[in-house]
Assembly symmetry: C2
Homo-oligomer: 469 residues x 2
């Protein structure tokens, strides 16, 4: 998953507040080691092997499923196997949503099955109704209250393919809020063209939410081919669809954030945090979302842990629980560690697939900009450009950033990400081992240099933001 930039303005105001500090600097010796690490990482396949292991041995990892517990045990064992100094877990509790079965089909003279998948958070139900098409979310919002009485709303918006994933932000409300909006206008069901770019017959799931007061209605996403088909059928006259979803909320579950640390040699209580999320949606094996982030960051800890000298600060690698249903592991982590914002020196998450990293940015304030530029210079041989202002924290970094934590952004090429995101095609064969190695090299350079830096990157508890949230 990936969330649109939110925090830039907050970060800049934060920068101003701490601009009077001494400049943060990167020692020359650290740059030499960074260059060695970069070369080692490019020649190393640990990241790929971890991705292969997680996707093969555990498979899909829906939060709260039987595989969730197996994934936690896998992550603990993998951290230990990779030589992390400390490995521990922290509980994460959330309501459990289950998918049991799903079918959709056109009724009547043009009867035929549709490829559709329930949105996470959808209730179950068996409904039949005429569909009413909307070109986008604004058109749905503009529909008069009551106008969808007894109907199925169908939002048919085509997401744009972009390198930076910005098309996802534009389409997001269709999935997140669309069903609740349609319900408010009388709809008894909801269909949407998947938020995705795949030409193949896979539907993309993802969370939807029904705020208090909104009557939950069965909600599903169609493959792009099937959305096209409904569009063509609607040109011929009214279309009735039957939706049979067996899914819904079922009690509460406690999973774990799994954490591995390479202990710092001088300031072990100060941490550079890099992360991915351990959970996935259930259709694929969560290879690009987000076994890749797990593999990339675990490999970084492994490589840094093998260096002759430990880093000055600790490198903390977190495999977050239940990112997909609302950054739940990350939020509970930020709550639990609310008193340690300043010691989270800087944080970055890999959660945008396995494409090559092409850009670097951070929330660092003025006094840390020289250090950030040195990190950017060490990333440049990997084809990575310093792009101030272009980035945003990874999703699981948001709760920490909202509490005042500094973040970095290692921007991956996401041109092909939404061919796979939240659908059945998110499998290992889509991951390029060489691109993984480039990611590991970039995260290793970043983490090592941030851990070796003298001075901070702007992390400071920020009461204004805590209340603003």
């Amino acid at each position: 998953m990936r969330v649109a930039p939110l925090l830039l303005a907050l970060s800049l105001s934060l920068s101003a507040a701490v601009a009077a500090q001494d400049a943060t600097r990167i020692p020359d010796a650290a740059l030499d080691t960074a260059a060695q690490l970069r070369a080692q990482a490019l020649a190393d396949d640990t990241g790929w092997k971890v991705i292969e292991s997680l996707t093969t041995e555990i498979g899909p990892r829906l939060p709260g499923s039987e595989a969730d517990a197996r994934a936690v045990a896998w992550a603990e064992a993998k951290f230990a196997e990779l030589g992390f100094d400390r490995v521990w877990t922290e509980p994460v509790t959330f309501p459990k949503w289950e998918r049991r079965s799903e079918r959709a089909y056109v009724l009547g003279a043009h009867a035929q099955p549709l490829v559709a998948t329930a949105l996470g958070g959808s209730p179950g139900g068996e409904i039949e109704a005429e569909i009413v098409r909307f070109a986008d979310f604004a058109a749905l919002e503009a529909a008069p209250v009551g106008s969808l009485q007894g109907k199925i709303a169908f939002v048919d918006y085509r997401m744009e393919r972009t390198r930076d994933g910005s098309g996802y932000g534009d389409a997001g409300p269709i999935r997140g809020r669309g069903p609740a909006v349609a319900s408010g206008k009388g709809a008894i069901g909801y269909l949407m063209r998947s938020i995705g770019t795949s030409a193949h017959r896979v539907a993309n799931t993802g969370m939807t939410r029904f705020p208090d007061g909104a009557a939950p209605i069965p909600a599903a996403a169609l493959s792009l081919s099937d959305a096209d088909q409904l569009g063509r059928l609607l040109q011929r006259g009214p279309v009735r669809v039957r939706l049979e979803l067996d899914c819904g909320w079922n009690g509460e579950y406690t999973s774990q954030n799994v954490i591995g640390e390479i202990t710092g040699r001088e300031s072990p209580e100060e941490v550079v945090m890099i992360a991915g999320h351990l959970d996935s949606w259930d259709h694929g094996t969560g290879a690009v979302d987000d076994a890749s982030g797990i593999g990339i960051t675990m490999a970084v800890g492994h490589l840094i842990g093998r260096l002759p000298q430990a880093p000055k600060r600790s490198i903390r690698v977190i495999a977050f629980a239940n990112e997909e249903q609302g950054l739940i592991g990350a939020r509970q982590y930020a709550e639990r560690h609310a008193g340690e914002i300043a010691s989270h020196v800087i944080a970055a998450e890999s959660d945008f697939g396995a494409g090559r990293i092409y850009a670097f940015d951070s929330s660092a304030p003025e006094h840390a900009q020289a250090a950030i530029r040195r990190i950017a210079e060490a990333l440049a041989p990997l084809g990575i450009e310093h792009t101030p202002g272009a980035g945003s924290p990874g999703p699981d970094i948001i709760p920490l950033a909202q509490a005042g934590g500094a973040w970095a952004w290692l921007g991956q090429d996401g041109s092909g990400y939404f061919d796979l995101h939240h659908n059945a095609d998110d499998t290992l064969d889509k991951v390029d081992p060489e691109a993984v190695a480039q990611n590991v090299a970039a995260y290793a350079v970043f983490a090592w240099l941030a851990a070796e830096a003298e001075g901070d990157f702007g992390s400071t508890p920020d009461a204004a933001q805590a209340t603003a949230e």
Copy 2:
């Protein structure tokens, strides 16, 4: 579907038998009209519109399903709408195979779902067993009798991507005969890597057969990603799989071959036959297999029917019933018309997708070769090469060819065909309207010139072949 070349040797012997006849010739005036037709077809979208109509309005067309009857009515209406002079149907009776539901998953420590689909002709059943992998069909055949007792055989052969589809012939026995062979060695179930080239999470169905004496066992094909996954899991130790198939034979059904004819002006009883098949597998909407063949050949009849002068011979367009389960419509057509072989002047089927035609060949004997070369010259501006000896009759032409009928081959580029063949991705968005128009132009040139030819192309009843079959 497409069947490997079978009949070249037979055709050559047939050629020798009739070589003493007068040479068949194409009148110059016919070539002028062919050039006009070619240009008109390239600028015409009738073929595309027919494909759009069939795939949208009817959707998947599993033989014997409710959609089978709708497709027959659609085809009758479409022939009439396109201005064919005569439209009729001929009954085709066959056993009905139904797919109701299917699930497969890995059990145990690496429990996870698999994308799999029952093979046509598979019985239903719920089984759990350890899988035994074979690299190819020969390895399965070499397994000792009894060695698969209580196991699920898993044949993991990778089909090769080729322009002419030759990789399909190599892989064919894995699906057609593999389950029966495995059953004979004690297996209680059968899994195979799909015969296909798609990197996406779609499984390719298709027929399998259990000869008398072979105990039918549940048999399914895995997506390529899932076959890869089983391969990786097997590297870690024994793998148990559960297969739940609800499918099987259920009574008998009578469908129809639907036939439209443009009546010849001089020899209406002599026909140039062009064909596609109306049925499809059930996962996609049968866009490339074989709504494309239906659209291409119907458009040819339509374009020829609009010419100021009717062709000398009749153009007969056939939408065959139930090709997928054994050329059943074509076989029953050949039986019904067994006395009319000589009047089926030449026949061709479009049943290899919607790729551009790049090659032309025929079974024509020596006395018709000059005429065939003139047809080839009229096809050359479409980028089509005359490739004597390279072709074979389309699948639904085989029964007629076996009875002595002459055939032509308009060879389509099938490089991408097995990305879509018999899987859920076989939908309209995969069809290129310009390639369809090129196909229509080629079939129109061929059909027109064959209908205008003076003399035959070698069709003659052949007693030796009738008994050989």
